[in-house]
Structure formats: C-alpha cells, structure tokens
Amino acid sequence: MGILQVQNVNKSFGGLKALNNVNLDITEGTVHAVIGPNGAGKSTLLNVCVGRLVPDTGAVLFNGRPLTGRSPHEINQMGVARVFQTPEIFADLSLLENVVIPTLAVRDGSFTVNAWGRVDNQAEIRDRAEAILESVGLAEKRHHHSGNLSRGDKRRLELAMCLVQEPKLVLLDEPTAGMSRADTNATIDLLARMQEEHGVTKIIIEHDMHVVFSLADRVTVMAQGTPIVEGTPNEIKGDPRVQEAYLGGAHL
C-alpha cells in the first residue's frame, strides 16, 4: 500500500468534469510525475490532495488516514508540504525568517501563543533554519528581503521552507514554470540532490518533459480528468496514447 492513495475521486466545476474517477497509488520514497495537456485536471488533483478543494465523491488517503475534508494546515501538520506554481513565500520577511516560520510550525503546532520569548534566542530553531538555507545555497543571503530574490532563488527558498519541516510527502506544482533554461536546470539539480539527501516522496505536476524525464521514477499521464497511462518514463515515452493525448492524434 502506498503512502498516498487517491480512490475514485470525482470533481466537477459546474458542468465541467475536472476529475473523472481518478485512482492513484504513490509508492513511498519515489518521485511520481503527473503530466498531461492543459485542462487534464492535474492541478485540480493536487488541490484535492492538499485540502484546497473537496472532491464530490471518493477519498484521498495519506498513510491510510483520510485527507478529504481537512483544512490545509491540518494536512501540512500530518506531513504533506506543497510547492506552488508561482513561489509562495513571505516576501516582506528575510530569508531566515521565511525558514524559521515552518520550523516553528513543526515544533509548536498549528497554534501556540509564544509572545514573550525572542525568536533570535531559539538556538535550535535558528540552527535548523540556517542549515537548510546552507543546503539550498542561500545561506549568505539569509538577512536579505526575500521579495527581492530572483524567481529561481524564490523557488529554492520555497523548497527550503518545505524541506525544513521534514515532510513525508512533497507536492510540487510545475516547479519550473516560467523559468529560464538555466533556472530550470538549477532547479532540477536541486531537486535531484534533495532526493539523494532527504529521499522524500514527491509528486510533481509538470509540463516540461525534460524535467519529468530527469527526475521521475514513475509517470502518470492524465487527459480530460482521467489517468490514461502509468509507467516508468521510458515506457511512457513510446506509448502512442500519450502522443495522442498531447498532440490530438498528430504523429511526431
């Protein structure tokens, strides 16, 4: 049994069926990519997993416990972290503070009023935060305003914010969307290194085949709200149904 199981999930927006009886089983420790053309329901699937959307029918189980109906902060506290398509960071705060917040969230839970102690006196929190910034290569910028970072660096920071929580599962929504080739490659390298060092289960939603084939252990192809093929990247490459879905029947 996998770490994350999506069971018979359906989701409609008005008359549009975004997810049509989706079943998915993610094995622990793997990088699982979900690909598909625009409108295939990839992002909807992700939003169902993190509690942003409630499915019409079906369930999402994380380590056997249902995620459906829980709020985003509860799901995160269970060990699921999310990386957004456009990096969501605390742009008014310093890089260090950006990483300290998730570290505190792990230690203190979803709500604790600690209004008397100083943040800079919490040595163990600070050490962890600085170590993770070091490992993504942002240590020397730790006192900078994070809003001034480049997009690639914002993505690094967001990854650091997720990894510092030592999650069991990370969901990445198009981690290289809108990036230059160089930034894309840097992000791939970072994710590959993270996989070696931390070995966290990851679900990556991606358009860019280059990213998928560089990182994924398994790939699910979605079209019109349904998974059509699942397999290793090499199996997917040659599958005619994938080309059908992407190119509407035209052959390369």
Binding site: E88, I89, F90
Partner: protein, 387 residues
Amino acid sequence: MTTPLATARSDLILFGAFTLAVLTMPIWLVPLGAGYPDLMQKFAIYGLFAIGFNILFGLTGYLSFGHAAFLGVGSYTAVWSFKLLGMNPVPALLLAILLSGLFAWVIGFVSLRRTGIYFSILTLAFAQMCYNLAYSVLTPITNGETGLRVLNSDPRALDHLTGQGVVDGPLVSNIFGLEMNGLPGFYFCAVWLLIGMYVSIRIFRSPFGLMLRAIKTNQTRLNYTGISTRPYALTAFVISGMYAGLAGALLCVTDPLAGAERMQWTASGEVVLMTILGGAGTLLGPVIGAGLIKYSENIFSAFHEQTLHDIFGFLPDGVEGVVVSVAGLFVGEGWHLTLGLLFMVIVIFLPGGLTSGVRQLVQMARRSSGGSGRSGGDAGTAPQAAE
C-alpha cells in the same frame, strides 16, 4: 539590501531611550508649548491606543475601523468601577482591560471570518452599532447623551470601607489620596504607556509576532505551512482591543466622565491616521503619530482670528484680510482640514510614515557623508532603532 537584525541589546537601548523621553516630557515639551499635564496625558493615552492598534494593523495587516468601540467600553467600565467600587484606578483599569478584551473576542470572532475591506466594514458596523446602542437602548448603563459620571451618592464600596466615602468637591480618581490629575495623572498614564510599549516590543520580537507578520505578507503560504491563521489574528485583535480598553479607562482616570461620542467612527479613524502617519508596523511610529496629531490638534484648534491677524500683521491691509480669511479655514474648528492635508502629504511622499522618512534621511546623510558610515554594526542598528 538587507534587513538589519534587532538584538535584545538594541531593543533594550530603544526602550531605555523611549522611557527617558517619556519621563522627561514635562521638561522638553515646554519650549514647544505643550508642557502642560492635560495635553501630556493625552499623548500618553492615545500613544497607548495607537501602540495597541498597531499590534493588529501593523503586524497582521487587518485594518480595523472599529477600535473606538473598545475605547468606549473601557471608559464605561472604568466609570462603573468608580461608581460601584470606588475611585481607585487600578481595579477600574483591570476591569476595563478584561471587559474590552471580551468585547474584542466577540467582535473579532465574527469579523475575522472575512479579510480586507470586508473585515474593515464589519468592524466599522460593529463600532457604529455600539455607538448607537450607547445612545439609545443602553441609556440605563451609559446615561445616553449626558454621559456617565460619578456621583457622590454612588455606592463606591471600597471608598466607604476605607473611610474615604465622603468627599467635598468633585470626585477625582486617586491612589491612596494621590489625585490622578495634573502631573501625577500624567505619570500614572506614562507608566502604563511604558508597560504597553515594553509588551509591544516583546510581541514584535516573539515567535507569535513573527506569525502575525507572516499573516500580513502571505496568509496562503502560512496555511500551507501548518499554521492555523485565524486564532493568531483573533489573539492579536483581542490584545489590541485590550490596549484600547486600557486607554479608554485611562481617559476616565484623568477625567471621570464617559460619553458615547468616544465610540464614534471618527475616533476609530483617528487611531488609523495616527498609526499610518507615524509608520504602521514600526515600534515607535504609532506613538509619534499619536503625539503629532494630538499636538497639532491642540495648536491649530487654539488659533483664532486675532492670532492670525497678529501673525500676518506685516502684510498690507487688503492682502492681510484675504490671507487671514483663507488661513482661518485651516485653524480653530477647521483644523481637521490641516490634518487632512498633512495626512495626504505623508501618505503620498512617505508611504511608510514618519519613521520611514527619518530612516531615509539617515541613509541619505550617511551616503553623502561618504564611505565611513557604511562600516560597523552601528550602521545596522540605527534604522532598526527607528523601527
């Protein structure tokens, strides 16, 4: 561009300097024409009000337009405490903090279901509701338009118990005989201002304060980071409501009369102006803003036609008449016009408020004085001190 770190030491220096400045106000305000107790009490009380408001607005970004309601609740509670328990200010203040906190919890619980403009409108609606209730159905508690005051015939249980029940002349709040008006009244308020400031510094630097600042910058990310944002915002709302209640009670300690106009939306708007004028989200800004507004209110509303004639007396007769009649619009009753202009100038040219203006000046001065200013930790702590 880096954000300098605030250390425990730099905060202590900041608080020390602030304490010194507050306690010596009766000295350095004299040349400014503001060295008399009534006005200084106002500085301290409204400073406290603004510090509390800033914990909500400056840190979480939730703009409440109804904080005057808590000021009013604090005032009424204090006067009722005077009436029932006696003229000692301490129980009055504690009860006021408690009750305004309770009020804030109820109003915050409902209002915080929405964000942005809808939150502001909800708080405004609540405050106006309180204001109208105080004038109408709650008249038995608030004494309506006349305002609530302490009478010689009131129970004042503690006073009678300690043999201070019978007083000649007006009833004034006092601690064991020391009357809370004039300079002692100011120092009493100043102590509370210092306590309020210290608590505010602790909150700003704490993990709790960091979460509040995170709410302001990206609530979505905070939710996906495992933080339940609403209880944090509600706690900040209650704390700032308590500050407002304390300020309202202090207003009654220095002058034991509570009226409903204290709850009107203009009073809520005033604290917003104070905070933005001084610099929202900074430690000192709100106090400076409160002082500036109360000071200019005092100066400009005291002007009348004769003083204007004296000032512009050097001009030729015809011109003087015109200048005086135009300037007359901006003083006396019309001083709000001056306030409006001042506010516009600040918001347009210094969106970060006065403290950010000072910081920019310091940086400019440092840049023009050459490379020497760029070295050392001192350069780092100066802007932080302004924060």
